[in-house]
Structure formats: structure tokens, C-alpha cells
Symmetry: D2
Subunit: 165 residues, 4 copies
């Protein structure tokens, strides 16, 4: 199974998404709540999210669908996925498999990122819209990883505060 975790990381890199890209968005989301936050903490949190079995499977499945749509090897659903049709909705549902296991802070952050598309999310979406690639699933998956890592940081920060009290 560790194999799937490594494969999912490799696939992210191949599709143009680095751990740093993801960690930067986590930092932007949480720095105002956690003043002592460093980018390294965000990288650690992203690493922890990527350790989860569900996350590896979601990344591999989503990228599989994106690449298949790029290659026009899907049937009826190919155009819907390739053009990221706004009412398709399966991309957000797939990303929920990551978001759900990280609690309600992950959920609200996910929606926010999906609407505002900062950093690497916007870059992926732009390339997708221009027809250079299909990122219908990947952009939502990145939003899900960012929001889950942000939720982890919020919970850890609160735990540390509680210990000091």
C-alpha cells in the first residue's frame, strides 16, 4: 500500500503540482489564525495528508480520469470531463473523500478555495480552460489537500494552546 502513496506523489509532480505549491496555499489560509506558522509546518501537514490511504487512491483515480479525457479515451462522458462542465459535480464529490476525513474546517476551506482558485489551483484551471490539459479532477483534489492540511494545522495549534493553559 505504501506503494500507492509514493505513486500518488509521483503523479502529482508529473501533472505539475509540487508539495511546495500546495504548502504555500496552506500557509496563506492559516497564517492569520496561527501567527507563528512557518512554511515548513505546512509542508509537514501536507505530507501527513498525503500519507492517508484514501488520499492516495483519490489522487490516482482523479488523475486517471483527467488523463483519459485528455487522450479522448473515455466514452459518453469524455467531453463533459474535458470541458469541466460546471454542473458535472463528480470532481467535487471525489475530492470530498479527502475533505470529509479532515473535519468541518477542511470542508469550509475547500469551498472557499474552489471558488477563489488561488496559486497553483488557478494555474491548473487556466491550463485546463485553454485546452492545454485536462485538470477537471486535479484542481479539486489540490483544493482538498490544501484545505485538509489547513484543518490539521488549526487543530494542532489549538491543542498546543490548550497544553499551555
Amino acid at each position: 500500500m505504501n506503494n500507492y502513496r509514493e505513486l500518488s506523489r509521483k503523479k502529482l509532480t508529473q501533472r505539475g503540482v509540487s508539495i511546495e505549491d500546495i504548502a504555500l496555499l496552506v500557509f496563506d489560509l492559516q497564517k492569520k489564525y496561527c501567527p507563528t506558522l512557518h512554511l515548513d509546518d505546512c509542508i509537514t501537514a501536507v505530507d501527513e495528508v498525503l500519507e492517508k490511504r484514501e488520499v492516495a487512491f483519490t489522487i490516482l483515480t482523479g488523475i486517471e480520469l483527467d488523463v483519459a479525457a485528455e487522450n479522448n479515451s473515455l466514452n459518453e462522458i469524455n467531453e463533459v470531463i474535458k470541458k469541466d462542465y460546471s454542473l458535472y459535480g463528480i470532481d467535487e464529490i471525489l475530492a470530498l473523500s479527502i475533505v470529509n476525513v479532515h473535519g468541518s474546517i477542511a470542508l469550509t476551506n475547500f469551498g472557499y478555495l474552489d471558488k477563489t482558485k488561488p496559486g497553483i489551483v488557478g494555474i491548473l484551471e487556466k491550463a485546463g480552460k485553454e485546452g492545454a490539459a485536462c485538470h477537471t479532477f486535479l484542481d479539486d483534489i489540490v483544493c482538498a489537500i490544501v484545505s485538509s492540511a489547513a484543518s490539521k494545522i488549526a487543530h494542532d495549534y489549538e491543542n498546543k494552546k490548550a497544553l499551555l493553559e
Copy 2:
């Protein structure tokens, strides 16, 4: 059961939330996607969301908890709810009972509204933070109604376009 629907509308008004407040936020969310949208369409969509049984029950349960916390009549959980502790999370979960039945567009809009707190959502939150009232559940419920009505409008708009093609 219709009784519960009327009661839930009355409670919203009593707690300072009008249908127009909600419809305005729906309009702001959807106008850029649906250029011919009128505020009246948004009011109709909000009315449709409020007709659902789950929505009435969620509104009544959430406001019940807010009011109980205001009156300090809850036990262990009173302070957590009254101060809207950021990791409480049950308020967002309760709002999901509304959001889930309206599909993935409702879900992403919900997260966005919960983070950005526009219009009446911000007003409710400010009054809550200042200690004038407890709106821990209500502000999330309003976000859920807005995002659900926005999802309805997006789906109806797409259906109309499909008919014209």
C-alpha cells in the same frame, strides 16, 4: 408538517433574517453566471429551499440551540456554542443537512460564504461576537440556504439553455 415550514420562516424573521437578505446574497453569487437573473428569481429559489422538510427542521433545531446558549440554559456545551469556538464544527455539520440535498454547487458556495461572510451573514456574526446574541448555528444555516438557492438557479439556468439549443 406545513406547520413546521411556517414556523421556521417565522423564526428566521424573529432572529433578524429576512427572505430579501438571503435572496440578495444569492443574487450576488449567481449574477455573473446568469446575466438575465432578477432578484425575484432569487426570492423564488429561496422560497423553494425553505419548502423542504429537512430545511425547516434544521432551522428550528439550530435556532433552538442558539437561543438556549443565549439564555445559558445548556450545560457543558453552553460556552462553546455561545462563543462560537472555531473547532466546534457542529454548526457546519448541521448546515450540511441543507447543503447536501442541493448538490455540489451548493457545497462549494457554502464554504465560500462561510469564509467571506457577506451581507446578513457578517451582520449576524458581528452581533454574535459582540455578545449581543448567539448566532453560532444561524449564520451557517443562512450560508446553507443561500448556497442551496444559488445551486437551484444554476441548475434551472442550464436546463433553460438546454431547451433553447
Copy 3:
């Protein structure tokens, strides 16, 4: 878009699932709560579920993945899907896109069907386990349609009772 609805029905038939198969499971679930229920009511409820855009997209996407795994045309994830690995979990998540929009009765029934695998669900699963076909996504999708139609019937029944009171 209506096109996708027809396509999703055709695909269900091609993969060995008829509306009657689905309606029979709905009938078995709800007859004890609704004594006057007929199989025709269940067929109508299944038809209504299949009218939803999200449902059509989920059916088409899930069957696409099943068929691709059968043909060994997926990459890293092919064996995981083909063998319906118990911790994969993406099949249940995909089915949630159908279940969520039908409320909490749909959700509990979904879990029950997924564990007990009655009728056509068990037939699909057996054929999958024997290697004759891959139904990793389809069996969960059928559970989701059954439980959603059952939820519709429960709500309609309650509405009728309320009118008579």
C-alpha cells in the same frame, strides 16, 4: 443534457441492471413502512431519481471506470478497482453524489444495502468477485439509486398522511 439521462439508462441495461431489479429492492425496503405501496410506485420513484442530472453523470462515470478496469486500460489503479479492494472507498464516495441529494433516509438505507447486498446488488457483486466482470462502482451506484428512491417514497407517504390529517 436529456441525452445524458437516456445514455445513463441505456448503460444500466447494458450492464445487466433493469429498472425492475432496482424497483424490487425499493419495494422490499419500504413495504413495511408504507402498507399500501405497489411496485409501480417504486418504478415511478426510481424514474424520478434517474431524472436528476447528478445521477446520470455518476452512472456514466462509474460504469466508465468499471469497463476500463475490465479492459485493463487503467494504470496504477487498475488492479485495485478490478478486485474491488475493500479499502478503496472511492466507489462509495461516488455513490454519495446520488445519496446526499436524497437526504438522511437515503444515507442509512445505502449503508444497509451495501452491507447486506440483496437481489441485483448481490448478483453484480458475485459476478465481479468471480472475475466475469468488474462491478466495483456499479453495485454501489445501484445501492444509491435504491436507497434514494426509498427515501422519496418515505417522504411522499408522509406528505400524503399529513394532507389527510
Copy 4:
């Protein structure tokens, strides 16, 4: 915060639910998949679930609502909660805050337990139906804890198997 965890355990005991009651149901669910499973492993898994902040908050909020309904101190919604009206649905939604963070195995087991009501779940429901107490939220919360602990065991078992390979 640790305080809330202890309080939530104390409340469970006060309302007639022991860790052993919960662990027994976990054992019944998982023994066929994990032949070497002991009841002690199930107790450990239940303890881990109860350590999560969301779980403590859900238990405290749900029991608060049950007790308030017992005391007739809620308003419009009192009868709906007291009689565990089948279309209420907020009790299942609240339990989802526990189930969601434990992945898709937790979700399907939750639905199964909620329909079949084994052991302590059935005892709670019977006492509720007889009017001796209100357990509308508690029975769903117990189902959620059981199914989440079962999911933990399934994942740990798979991890151990992977290490031996």
C-alpha cells in the same frame, strides 16, 4: 479541551452506554474480516474514536438535545425530537460529524447499524419508544462510534497485513 473528552465519556455512562457495550458491537461487525480480533482491540479502537475533539462535541450536543426534549424544555421542535419522528433526520446528520472523519467503511457500517439496531442501540431505541427516555440523538451517536471504531480496525488490520507481505 481534554476536559470535553472526559465530560463526553461521563455523559455516555450517565445515559446508560458503556465502552464495553460499544466495543461488543465493533467486535460483532469486524470479527469475520479480522479472525485474530480480540475484544480488547475493539476497546482500544473505541477509546481512540472518543479522543477526537469532534466526537466529544457531538456527544455533548446530542445528549444535551435528548435531555432537553425529555424535560420538555425545547420549543417547536420538542415533540419531533421526543418521538424520534422518522423524517427528522438531524440526528443522523449530527452523527455524520463522527462518521465522516473515519472514511467510507465507517459510512456503510453506520447505515447498517442504524437499520438493524443491534445490542445497546436496540436497547436505547426501545427505551426511547416506550417513553422512558429520549435517545433520538444518542442511538445514532452510538452507531457512529461503533462504525468509526470498526473502520479503524479494518484499516489497521490491512496495514499489518501489508507489513508482513
